[in-house]
Symmetry: C2
Subunit: 251 residues, 2 copies
């Protein structure tokens, strides 16, 4: 049986379904090592299977065997085991390029929920963020649920884990990024944001948000909401800001 | 054991946790009929319990009994059984008011996923939509998972189920609404939207979106995205548009 904890320590991961498999096949950071496919899905997958490197075995198993190997009921009929490319380039190298191109990066601090992590990657990818930076309290984006919710974008959007929010900020500051710290109590309204330097969008934990000290030191940004609720989901809130930043970069 | 299917036919529902309970206590459309609470949570809940109507019993049970009654492991230590107010006002009556006030309503067509349904209500509520209208193919917003993901807003934001998208449109057209049909292939870009008449935001199914015939007949709206992905979650996409409409209504 595939155990999540046996995989993640080795940089391994499980990709489920064709949408995620497509991202895996596009990925320059991860490569498939083996596939497990239901017999009934083989025909529909033939084009994708033809694009696999020659040394990647495709195992075919009936549903009952399939579910026992996976350790959970598999609805999508295709699983890939993948590993990080050893020669994958340093994800930080893309940050300099993003900075020079006026791009956006996302910094997640203390994001502990795999659904939110996956949704954040999906939204960052849809709106063309250059990378996601994670502080050391974040959950693992390569966890199965996060991969699925991200529709596989954790495999294609560069990310790196880099200590505390303050440490991450020091790396970004040198490259010319402006920090935008998202908070319901932010002092700037999103609608007043104009195009400008490359931006690093900092997001806090689901519960407590970013620390007060961090918010005081940086430009803090709020999304206007109807009264009575300050309760947008963190990934949804990020989507609204990332969409606006995308509009500003592409007028 | 509480069975979802035994409840929903009677207009009954299960509210889990304090966040949802707070919405239930604010709701004018639903009322609590009984509560089930873990002993350890009683003190923390005392203020809320004091606000319950006198005829609502509060049952206290240890964890093992609690989970057996609920039929699932309960992490939040408080469950409420609630029912629709018989005298609750017609949710359609609010539509005329919304139309006169230049407000926004959301129309969901074929939304079959409870997470997306819950997230849609949460976003509609956060950005001050007046109501959610559901076509007859939508899943039930009063399903437990949808209630939880909505952070209880399905209990406070008026909604009604009203036949097909076309039938819903005929009700709204009479009241002076403009239809905005959300689609990745929309002919208007969200950034070109200006303040105007009251808007009805139509959202399609997760898979296929709104029908082509419907899109041809109405103003269709797209959200700008980076190339290569047209894959924003439907509730997230709605949040981006609802936020913009909120900004336009509150300049």
């Amino acid at each position: 049986m595939v155990r999540e904890r046996d995989l993640t320590g080795r940089g391994g991961l499980i990709a489920e379904g064709t949408v995620v498999l497509d991202q895996l096949l596009r990925s320059r950071r991860f490569r498939p090592r083996s596939l497990l496919v239901l017999p009934a899905r083989l025909d529909g997958l033939s084009e994708r299977l033809a694009r696999l490197p020659r040394d990647v075995p495709v195992y075919v198993a009936e549903s009952a065997v399939f579910d026992r190997i996976a350790g959970f009921p598999v609805h999508r009929g295709v699983l890939a085991y993948a590993e990080r490319h050893e020669e994958a380039s340093d994800p930080l190298s893309g940050l300099r390029e993003a900075a020079e191109g006026g791009g956006t990066v996302v910094v997640a601090c203390g994001l502990s929920n795999h659904d939110n992590m996956g949704a954040l990657f999906r939204n960052a990818s849809v709106f063309g963020a250059a990378a996601v930076l994670l502080d050391d309290r974040c959950c693992d984006p390569l966890y199965r649920k996060a991969i699925r919710v991200s529709v596989g974008t954790v495999l294609t959007l560069p990310f790196v884990r880099l200590g505390s929010a303050g440490e991450i900020w020091r790396s970004l500051e040198e490259l010319g990024f402006e920090a935008l710290a998202l908070s319901p109590a932010g002092t700037s309204d999103l609608r007043d944001l104009r195009s400008g330097p490359p931006r690093a969008l900092f997001l806090g934990t689901e519960g407590e948000g970013l620390g007060e000290a961090f918010l005081r030191r940086h430009r803090s940004l709020r999304v206007a909401m109807a009264s009575g609720l300050d309760s947008l989901n963190v990934a949804t809130c990020a989507a609204i800001v990332l969409h606006r930043l995308y509009e500003l970069r592409n007028p």
